[in-house]
């Protein structure tokens, strides 16, 4: 019978400074020569990470009350609109929000500025009520003046993602970066064998309540992410091909570091935010040992035409080719480029490794598992 080890046993080793922690890249290299049983006997925890543009991100802020108080209805932060449809001095600022359609400063920049400790201009208006008589405010806030600054990202850490190419004769500016005409380049955006959900494809250890690294501090998996999809076909290595599972994550933005949260602007698309996420994976049995040893050559994804507007599936490739700088599509060689930073993802995986090795980061059992089966609805235009 194959061996098992509980997360509590692993935590005991972590507390005693005896846990063996490796990054997913280190384990992928080991996996070439070792059986899952050997891997399991040598490794307790594997750290995974990603640092890519993740549009479905944002933060809740509570400003504190003025005297007399105000129920803010329309509000902006550095002129970027923030949501006024929650309680009096609560808001949600979305990463992609901008004042005007083509602005290159948006919600992600506001969030980064606040994390950096900068002052941000708050302007709000309200109709005024008996209990909240104030109707206007213009003031400066920063992360030490506000009560809460909670990053809550509804969809991060995509398990796999499309490769984008452009079949047309015109240059295209997309959220997958600039796509040169006539298949001039192929852009991709995951950290491959280092990416969290590719190392636990069935989400056996990553679930609701999992403690993670987010933006330079400790956070948690809050829920399945939006557009969570278990319906993608699996390849021979149990990896879903194409965009699949996602995570909703939460963390205290006051404790974050701008090294791991970066506002971004994609030409003609708009604002997004690079989010740094690291997730430790406990090697609880041989199946997990096999999963975490997944290599770039075993992780496949779809090549999609982002130029024509109908997102046609053109082929399939793997991350070994993508990271080599060139893929072949229908006999044609295409230069590749990443959009997510493997360099910063490696830094995150190393930080997490150090924190666990030194007993400062204890692993968690999921409070509940993520959905086993969940598909995607299409939006029908019904009127």
């Amino acid at each position: 019978m194959s061996k098992k080890r509980s997360i509590e046993e692993i935590n005991e080793k972590i507390r005693n400074g005896k846990a063996v922690v490796l990054t997913a890249e280190q384990v992928s290299a080991m996996g070439k020569e070792m059986t899952p049983a050997e891997m399991m006997s040598r490794v307790d925890v594997v750290t995974t990470a990603t640092f890519g543009p993740m549009c479905s991100s944002g933060a809740f802020i509570n400003f504190g009350h003025t005297t007399p108080p105000m129920r803010m209805e329309k509000l902006t932060l550095n002129n970027v609109p923030a949501y006024g449809g929650v309680a009096a001095v609560d808001t949600y600022i979305g990463a992609t929000e901008t004042a005007m359609p083509h602005d290159n400063y948006g919600g992600a920049h506001v969030i980064e500025d606040l994390i950096a400790g900068k002052d941000v201009l708050l302007q709000a208006s309200a109709k005024g009520t008996d209990c909240y008589p104030r109707t206007e405010i213009k003031t400066l806030i920063n992360k030490s003046t506000i009560n809460e600054f909670i990053m809550f990202n509804p969809r991060n850490a995509y398990q796999n993602y499309n490769v984008a190419v452009n079949s047309t004769s015109k240059i295209k500016f997309t959220y997958m970066g600039t796509l040169l005409p006539a298949f001039g380049n192929a852009n991709f955006s995951t950290s491959g064998e280092l990416s969290p959900l590719l190392n636990d494809p069935e989400m056996r250890t990553i679930g609701i309540g999992t403690r993670i690294f987010i933006g330079g501090t400790t956070g948690y998996v809050a829920w399945n992410g939006t557009q969570f999809n278990t319906g993608k076909p699996l390849n021979d290595h149990g990896i879903p091909v194409g965009n699949a599972a996602t995570l909703a994550v939460i963390g205290d933005a006051k404790q974050m570091n701008t090294q791991f949260i970066k506002a971004a602007y994609f030409e003609k698309y708009g604002v997004s935010m690079f989010v740094g996420i690291g997730i430790p994976i406990p090697v609880v049995d041989e199946d997990m040992a096999r999963r975490v040893s997944i290599r770039n050559s075993q992780i496949e994804t779809n090549v999609i035409d982002y130029g024509s507007g109908n997102f046609e599936l053109l082929g399939r490739t793997n991350y070994k080719f993508l990271f080599s700088g060139e893929i072949t599509l229908n006999g044609k060689k295409i230069r590749t480029a990443p959009l997510s930073s493997v360099k910063v993802a490696r830094e995150i995986a190393d930080i997490l490794k150090k924190e666990i090795t030194e007993g400062r980061f204890i692993l968690t059992e999921p409070v509940a598992l993520l959905p086993k089966t969940k598909g995607l609805n299409k939006l029908e235009v019904r009127i």
Partner: protein, 136 residues
């Protein structure tokens, strides 16, 4: 033999003297024009690679400057704020000239200005807006 890319900036009243022709004919400098934007009455720019023995190249540059034409190595004109770079690789996607490349092992961006053809696509492709070009 030294090979280097330069940006020549012509004043609006530049004389009709054929500078490029003279560089080739009189100095025997191998000239490869990468980009040209020169019109009468306007400030003009010429991006070109010049190859010659170091001494000859120096004489050629002196000649250009004597003609009241500004001449700067390309890396003085293209600014990349490397300290702020997150090495995402988005700029390398558009750099068909191969000046911006990702290290296969290091996953770090490297920039070789002497391969730059000043297409300016990286300016729009960097999500952090870290490139600027001081031409025109």
């Amino acid at each position: 033999m030294t090979s280097k890319r330069f940006v020549l900036t012509f004043p609006p009243d530049a004389t009709g003297e054929p500078i490029t022709y003279n560089l080739i004919k009189k100095f025997d400098i191998m000239v490869n024009i990468v980009k040209a934007d020169v019109s009468p009455g306007k400030i003009g720019h010429l991006v070109m690679e010049m190859s010659a023995p170091a001494k000859v190249l120096k004489e050629g540059l002196e000649y250009i400057r004597q003609k009241n034409v500004e001449c700067e190595p390309i890396d003085k004109k293209i600014h990349y704020r490397e300290d702020l770079c997150i090495h995402c690789g988005a700029c390398s996607a558009v750099c068909f000239a191969g000046a911006l490349t990702m290290g296969r092992k290091t996953a770090e961006l490297s920039f070789d200005p002497d391969k730059c053809v000043v297409c300016e696509l990286c300016l729009k492709s960097c999500p952090l807006n870290l490139f600027s070009i001081d031409i025109g």
